[in-house]
């Protein structure tokens, strides 16, 4: 079946009006007075078939990763479609501010030194607290310059130096000004560029389709099912290869800089299909997010001279980092703020102040206009006159679907890349500017790996409709059961308590006793899932059921984070154990692997790929 979703074709404008708004998959059967049983059977099977779509490659996720991979696969003349629960331009990638790292060496380092990919790789591995796989890091850093240039050729409006080359700025943990940027809208610019390229190739996009399961057969991933949000219909997708590119799981925590839709769907879907997750305990917290909405306030605000002040008016960073003060590394500042708040020196509600007033109106308006706008729009505070209320917040998920440098997982035909994956370029701590890079580099490279597998013929020809039909029926009845429940639990309250548990028990500081409590709380929450009642009983455009499914995904991930964090009895990168304050390479220079066995999470380990750089103490 070759079905393209609605109106993804290039249509001359004059004809647009004539085209009805409907998805071919929703084609209504023309009723023409059929009476015989056989005909009726045919109609029924046709109806089911109209829900099933077949492609060479299915890409789940329309962020930077998904779009870049789609271009690669489409250019190899393979039939590819993108599935996304929101319009691709609403993907979280659009929010990235700071930039993308690449050793273009457009800006010299100190004493006129010249950057190169090896130094980038070193910074990345050191930043990862030596948990990154060095073979993957090597690929990412080698490919970085050509990746930034490729985006430039596709139309991204990078900021420029006086000499016309792409501008680069310094970023935390990097030895050179290596971060290429498009003002403070890098993600927006890159995502729009890739979307433009996707549109110009007429790549079909199933938007507002929420993926509900992966379909496997004989240990092979043959496709997925998805709920068409608008109609409530379940669709099946068959493909020789499925790429997961669904982004992070920031919404597991109650304060996160992530988009509200970042609920870790892909990680959970993979887990349920028998694929392992890797390094789930490593969650990055950013020290300065706006109190309330937790919108990111970039490090640049402190770079320009902003200072952190507690309730008593004290500049407290001197007590934690006497030399680098407010500009200490992210994890150090986040821990300091958290300590101030925990010890009662924060403001009511749990925040401290970021004071920019002494910088003066002119500088704030010139260098930090975006931050000023965010503060005004979202906190009603103009930093020229008042300090900005800030608190640390979850920012990035280092862990994810266990994938190798080709994006391959333990399930044949199933690939993962981007923030939902753990190809392991960030290890225990990601450097700012490396994740946008990861999405585009591995979007392309994993695209290539898929093309190669398909051309080798090692991918299974997918023609088994029965398996996917069964999967559709399963999801359909699952959703109907959920809607028919007349129980009494409120999903929004449960989500809130899950968020509270994760932030208070598995946040910036962790220790055994507290985490044990947390695990019990997660168990309680898990039990309540089946008692949740949804009032809206219609399946079409039912946001409550989408939010419920997202909650289910999150609860499952909560367990993986919790068990992985509990078992890692050391402090490394973002994972800080107060009961095990130092790094323990002897025992824990290894990846944590969590998988689902007999419906229970089990934890095992896997070696780290070393090579170029020997683990050393991480001092800045």
């Amino acid at each position: 079946m070759d079905i393209k979703p609605l109106e993804k074709e290039k249509i001359p404008y004059s004809e647009l009006e004539e085209l009805e708004k409907e998805c071919p998959s929703q084609e209504k059967e023309k009723k023409n007075g059929i009476s015989s049983l056989d005909d009726e059977k045919e109609i029924i099977s046709k109806n089911i078939l109209s829900n099933i779509h077949q492609y060479d490659v299915i890409i789940i996720g329309g962020g930077l990763t998904g779009l870049r991979a789609a271009l690669q696969v489409s250019d190899a003349q393979l039939k590819v479609a993108i599935i996304s629960k929101v319009h691709p331009l609403r993907s979280h990638s659009v929010a990235a501010q700071g930039g993308m790292n690449a050793s273009l060496a457009n800006v010299p380092g100190e004493n006129e030194t010249v950057d190169n990919w090896k130094i980038h790789a070193y910074d990345t591995v050191k930043g990862s607290d030596y948990l990154a796989d060095q073979d993957a890091v090597e690929i990412m850093c080698r490919e970085a310059p050509s990746t930034v240039i490729e985006l430039e050729h596709m139309g991204t409006a990078w900021s420029r130096l006086e000499n016309g080359k792409i501008a680069q700025r310094p970023f935390g943990g990097a030895g050179f000004p290596r971060t290429c940027y498009a003002a403070d809208r890098t993600g927006h610019n890159a995502l729009h560029t890739l979307y433009e390229q996707v549109i110009s190739r007429d790549i079909p996009i199933y938007e507002d389709f929420f993926v509900t399961s992966l379909v496997t057969e004989n240990e092979y991933c043959v496709g997925c099912t998805a709920l068409e949000i608008l109609t409530g219909k379940i669709h099946g997708f068959l493909a020789s290869a499925v790429l997961m590119a669904t982004g992070g799981f920031g919404r597991l925590f109650n304060s996160s800089t992530n988009a509200l839709i970042n609920t870790g769907d892909g990680q959970s879907l993979a887990l349920n299909a028998g694929v392992s997750l890797k390094d789930m305990e490593f969650v990055q917290f950013h020290p300065t997010t706006l109190y309330g909405t937790n919108i990111l306030i970039t490090e640049g605000a402190r770079g320009e001279g902003g200072i952190l002040i507690n309730k008593n008016g004290e500049r407290f960073m001197g007590n934690y980092a006497p030399n680098s003060l407010d500009l200490a590394p992210r994890d150090v500042v986040a821990r300091a703020i958290d300590t101030e708040i925990a010890e009662g020196r924060g403001f009511k509600g749990g925040y401290v102040h970021l004071d920019l007033r002494h910088l003066g109106e002119e500088l704030i308006k010139e260098r930090l206009p975006g931050i000023r706008q965010i503060s005004i729009d979202f906190a009603g505070v103009d930093p020229i006159n008042e300090p900005i209320p800030i608190q640390p917040g979850q920012h990035y998920s280092m862990g994810g679907i266990d994938a190798d440098k080709d994006g391959k997982t333990s399930l044949k035909g199933f690939y993962a890349a981007g923030e939902c994956a753990c190809i392991s370029v960030h290890g225990a701590n990601r450097l700012g500017g490396n994740s946008l890079l990861e999405t585009v580099v591995f979007g392309r490279m994993v695209g290539d790996a898929i093309i190669e597998e398909i051309s080798k013929g090692s991918c299974k020809e997918q023609n088994n409709l029965e398996t996917v039909q069964k999967a559709i029926t399963e999801i359909d009845s699952k959703l109907k059961i959920i809607l028919s429940r007349n129980t009494s639990e409120n999903q929004f309250k449960i989500k809130e308590s899950l968020n509270n548990t994760m932030s208070s028990k598995f946040g910036i500081f962790r220790d055994r006793v507290v985490m044990e409590k947390g695990i019990l709380e997660i168990e309680e929450i898990k039990k309540k899932l089946s008692q949740i009642k949804i009032d809206n009983k219609k399946l079409a455009l039912n946001q409550a059921i989408i939010r419920f499914l997202e909650l289910e995904y999150l609860v499952q991930l909560a367990e993986t984070v919790a068990f992985a964090a509990m078992k890692r009895e050391e402090s490394r990168g973002s994972h800080t154990r107060t009961d095990y304050p130092s790094r323990d390479d002897k025992k824990f220079l290894k990846h944590t692997i969590t998988s689902l066995q007999n419906k229970k999470i089990s934890v095992s380990y896997k070696p780290v790929v070393l090579g170029m750089f020997k683990p050393q103490e991480r001092v800045y």
Binding site: Y13, V148, E152, A157, E196, A259, T293, L541, A544
Partner: protein
């Protein structure tokens, strides 16, 4: 403090409004208020969202009769009578429902699009116009390294690359309301963005919209620029494109 929300779904004979008393939260946005409504009052309320930080463009809707991003609009300041924007009038702004602006925030779907459910509209027409513009760079050749670009060319370009395709301008444009075939402010601004990109080699970009429903349909109400959450001025692009096209035509007339 109340939220008055437009409600409609397929099969309903006519839309209606629900009013809901809001529990005060510090710096509550309209988006937060909608979540409160969904979580505490009626979980069937439908609205679009993603980033909650005014960067993704998902949440444009008509708030107190002005197209805005729900996530960027503060409830308290609306009630205080701040954030008023005087728009050139069009039918969707006419009072169809009574509401007390000092007590209530009125939330309705973005005008000029078919309503799918509650606050969700079908933005297909908007993206069709966008696609019609062939919004993709068409380079002459590809250099081995990056194209060099004069940094002083960037501010003009960024004015238009900043568009988040939220469609607020489309819902604010009186011409789009009257003429469904008008390509609309954002699509025209997008076309202009490629026209002024020094890397683009297609020198007939402007001609793409040199049609009745393109550049020439604009009445210069200027609502687009006023409502744009990103400071994009489609009206400026349209004015400049018209001037350039006229000049081009004059020149070719002269040659004849």
């Amino acid at each position: 403090m109340k939220l008055k929300v437009f409600r409609y779904h397929e099969g309903m004979s006519a839309p209606h409004y629900d009013t809901f008393s809001l529990e005060e939260e510090p710096s509550m946005t309209v988006l937060r208020a909608l979540f409160q409504f969904q979580e505490q009052f009626d979980d069937s309320l439908a609205f679009q969202y993603s980033c909650r930080g005014s960067v993704c463009g998902a949440c444009a809707m008509l708030i107190n009769k002005v197209p805005r991003l729900a996530c960027r609009t503060q409830v308290a300041s609306l009630l205080k009578g701040e954030q008023q924007i005087a728009l050139s009038p069009y039918p969707a702004l006419e009072e169809k429902v009574g509401w007390d602006p000092s007590q209530e925030v009125l939330v309705e779907p973005l005008p000029h699009f078919p309503v799918v459910k509650d606050l969700i509209v079908d933005r297909n027409a908007f993206f069709k116009s966008y696609k019609f513009m062939e919004p993709v760079i068409k380079p002459e050749s590809i250099p081995p390294k990056e194209n060099l670009m004069d940094p002083s060319d960037l501010p003009d370009l960024e004015l238009y690359t900043n568009c988040i395709l939220c469609a607020a301008c489309y819902g604010a444009c009186p011409v789009d309301g009257e003429n469904k075939d008008y390509l609309g402010p954002a699509a025209l601004a997008k076309l202009y963005r490629f026209h002024i990109d020094p890397r683009d080699a297609d020198n007939r970009r402007l001609e793409k919209a040199d049609i009745n429903n393109g550049w020439w349909a604009c009445d210069f109400h200027g609502n687009c620029r006023q409502v744009c959450p990103k400071g994009v001025p489609p009206i400026m692009a349209i004015g400049q494109a018209q001037a350039e096209l006229m000049e081009k035509k004059e020149k070719s007339e002269d040659k004849k």
